[in-house]
């Protein structure tokens, strides 16, 4: 039986070079799709596995090892923000999720849902950013897909990445392993990604511009393992911020977590932006930070390992796992009081005054 004919291919016979904007035909699977791949994506992401261009990509895995698999969808608006863009974010997000399982990230896949009318030049910038981010993180994007939706049915570009990594032999990294007496480490200042995106989205400027912390954290994770630390739990505090991450750990391990609020680093610009919008920096998203829970006795060694690794220079111990208020995170405040650091509810609501 013949393949069903896609009429959109008839209406868009012109070569890609003549088209500044994505048309529905670019998602039709025909010549235009091929041109989009050859003109935009393949040059930016090229690697031997991707170049197989088969229905699936075949690659060897280490015998007897364990694989980690993760997927994440990215719908950030605006597509470009200070310190990153949806392309680099889509790489970092999945690389970081793999790293937080104690895995060495290996390969990624990427699927693009593109809104009709999106400038091809913008897609190319995103693809190049992805390629550069993947290279910097030591992974390859080995399979992909593009679809085009009608104008008004998308928000420029949505990207879904999936990733596979090889878990380090002997590593057992899970939220449930957080144990009383463990130390809680944070790799750097919080809230920068969320504030950077919000400031562009809402047209707010705060003295010095806040730049997203979007970055791969696999090198920080590697430093901990290389230092011989028995890492119990790793998380990258993305949506919901540090508050959500710590609450998830406390709930999963049925332990309490105590945080010295004064120890949590927050950049001045983030602090003033949050004060202005009525947000708690602990609830604001990060895209390049690592929370590590390690045995109390290894805290100093873990801290040294993080601080000697690029991206971890400002690492600190922010708290400890306690056998009290199970499932809850409690902050020690600057006046010597305590408060619950709660799971954020959902959408952050800027305060009115």
């Amino acid at each position: 039986m013949a393949e069903p004919v896609d009429p959109s291919n008839w209406s868009c016979p012109a070569p890609l070079a003549d088209r500044a904007l994505v048309v529905l035909g670019h998602g039709g699977g025909g010549r235009l799709t091929a041109e989009l791949l050859e003109g935009v994506f393949l040059p930016a992401l090229a690697n031997p596995l991707l170049d197989q261009l088969a229905d699936s990509t075949v690659f060897p895995v280490p015998a007897g090892g364990r694989l980690a698999l993760s997927t994440d969808a990215f719908v950030v608006s605006p597509l470009f923000f200070p310190g990153g863009d949806i392309g680099s974010l889509a790489v970092h997000g999945t690389v970081n999720d793999l790293a937080c399982s104690g895995a060495v990230p290996l390969h990624l896949t990427a699927a693009f849902v593109i809104e009709e009318g999106t400038p091809v030049e913008l897609l190319a910038r995103i693809a190049h950013s992805m390629g550069a981010a993947a290279q910097a993180a030591g992974v390859a994007i080995v399979a992909g897909d593009t679809k085009v939706v009608e104008r008004g049915r998308g928000d420029g570009v949505y990207i879904t990445t999936a990733g596979v990594g090889v878990v380090r032999p002997g590593a057992d990294v899970r939220p449930e392993r957080a144990t009383t007496g463990d130390a809680v480490l944070l790799s750097g200042p919080i809230g920068q990604h969320g504030v950077a995106v919000m400031s562009v989205r809402e047209g707010l400027e705060f003295g010095s511009p806040v730049v997203s912390d979007s970055a791969p954290i696999h090198a920080l994770v590697a430093a901990l393992f290389d230092a011989g630390i028995d890492v119990h739990t790793l998380r990258d505090p993305t949506r919901g911020g540090l508050a959500a991450t710590l609450n998830e750990i406390a709930a999963a391990a049925r332990v309490g977590i105590e945080v010295d609020e004064l120890a949590v680093p927050v950049a001045d610009a983030v602090r003033s932006a949050c004060a202005l919008m009525g947000l708690d920096p602990m609830q604001v998203a990060n895209e390049g930070r690592l929370v590590a829970v390690v045995p109390g006795g290894s805290a100093e060694a873990a801290l040294d390992a993080l601080r000697l690794t690029p991206g971890g220079e400002q690492a600190v111990v922010i708290g400890r796992v306690v056998d009290d208020h199970h499932g809850m995170v409690v902050g020690l405040t600057l006046v010597g009081g305590t408060r619950i650091i709660d799971m954020p509810l959902g959408e952050l609501l800027p305060r009115i005054c």
Binding site: E202, L204, L262, D268, R271, S272, A275, M277, G278, D324, H325, M328, V330, T333, L334, V335, G336, G337, T338, R339, I340, D342, L345, L348, L349, P350, R351, I352, C353
Partner: protein, 366 residues
């Protein structure tokens, strides 16, 4: 960070606490008026570190919390109309109306937008000349000048597709209502610093002397709040009842003259319903007749919408300092930030939400 670091300084906080402890010889009950202060107190656990006898009651100063249910229902009715772009501050979107909230309107296809300033809403009106743009003008004296300015500017620019749904409330009449209420336990007030930035504090002199209560104009950072408590306690211990300004870095005695003139031009005083409390005489602002053309209530004919509160919700007593949030039978059971019965459970500045968020049973604190 200038103007914040020095007011979040643990050493300064400790010194103030020491002085409060030394000065306190018997129990005193204070009320912080503003929701921002309530949030900061609970957020930093300030009430936990005060001497045993100093009790802080949480006042009615959360603008989201006191906006009456019928105003929310009117907002929802207007926002549901296809020709309307409804603009609001973010934390009004989750306040429950009788049937749904503004988020619910948005999920059903209504065009509800968050703005950071009412002037942004005027711009939305200019950018969308074929739509009706409505701004939800709520809040205390703090937010009113920007709202007045928006209406003023819309008139000056001839923007006819802009209107405001006004539900403004005023602090001094609320303080008087609290002091007049039978069973009032408040012996001193921490007045809301930002309200006084606009209005000054001359109005409070009358209240302080007539009711014999110290009123300390207080800021929002931990050191500000401890200094407010310290000054109120020192007055009470000395038998004084004066108005004091503990927030001079932003508050002047006569407030902001330009803002006050603008407010007087655009708004006039009216009776206002406070959610959970009821009608307080001469406690709100509405548009003056010269600006009625910008009144969304008249434009969309929603003035007849009335509403009945949930009988389970005790937010009125919370707002008057008669009970603490955790003394409400519905607290943390039928009523949570996820499923709020009353507005005090919605905003970060609401006393119930602040208690729930920072201090639930089971945390071994509070």
């Amino acid at each position: 960070m200038k103007h914040v670091d020095e007011y979040q300084d643990p050493a300064r906080a400790r010194r103030l606490l020491d002085e409060i402890r030394r000065s306190t010889t018997r129990p005193w009950t204070l009320m912080e008026v503003c929701g921002g202060q309530t949030n900061s107190i609970i957020r930093h656990g300030i009430d936990q570190v005060l001497p045993e006898g100093i009790e802080l009651l949480h006042g009615p100063g959360c603008p989201v919390c006191v906006t009456p249910l019928e105003s929310i229902d009117r907002a929802i009715a207007i926002a549901s109309r296809p020709e309307v772009i409804f603009c609001s501050f973010g934390d009004m979107l989750r306040v429950p109306g009788s049937e749904r909230d503004l988020f619910g309107v948005r999920s059903r296809g209504g065009d509800v937008r968050t703005v950071y300033s009412p002037l942004d809403a005027v711009q939305v009106a200019i950018d969308n000349p074929d739509r009706e743009v409505v701004f939800f003008a709520i809040g205390f004296e703090t937010t009113a000048p920007a709202n007045a300015l928006a209406v003023h500017q819309a008139r000056r620019l001839g923007v006819t597709n802009f209107s405001v749904l006004v539900s403004h409330v005023l602090v001094p009449p609320a303080i008087r209502a609290i002091l007049d209420a039978p069973g009032c336990r408040v012996q001193g007030f921490l007045a809301a610093g930002h309200v006084c930035t606009v209005m000054g504090y001359a109005e409070y002199q009358v209240l302080a002397s007539r009711y014999g209560v110290p009123i300390v104009v207080t800021g929002f950072e931990p050191v500000d709040l401890l200094d407010g408590v310290r000054r109120a306690v020192l007055q009470l211990e000395a038998g004084r009842a004066e108005v004091e300004n503990a927030y001079p870095r932003v508050v002047a005695e006569n407030g902001n003259q330009v803002a006050k003139e603008l407010l007087a031009e655009v708004f006039e005083v009216c009776d206002r319903t406070w959610r959970g409390i009821g009608v307080i005489h001469a406690s709100g602002w509405r548009l003056r007749p010269a600006f009625r053309a910008f009144d969304a209530e008249a434009r969309f004919d929603v003035a007849d919408i009335t509403a009945v509160e949930s009988p389970l919700c005790h937010s009125g007593e919370v707002l008057q300092g008669l009970i603490t949030p955790d003394q409400c039978p519905a607290f943390g059971r039928e009523c949570t930030p996820r499923n709020p019965l009353g507005a005090t459970m919605v905003s970060d500045e609401g006393a119930c939400a602040a208690y729930y968020t920072h201090r639930r049973a089971g945390a071994g604190i509070g």
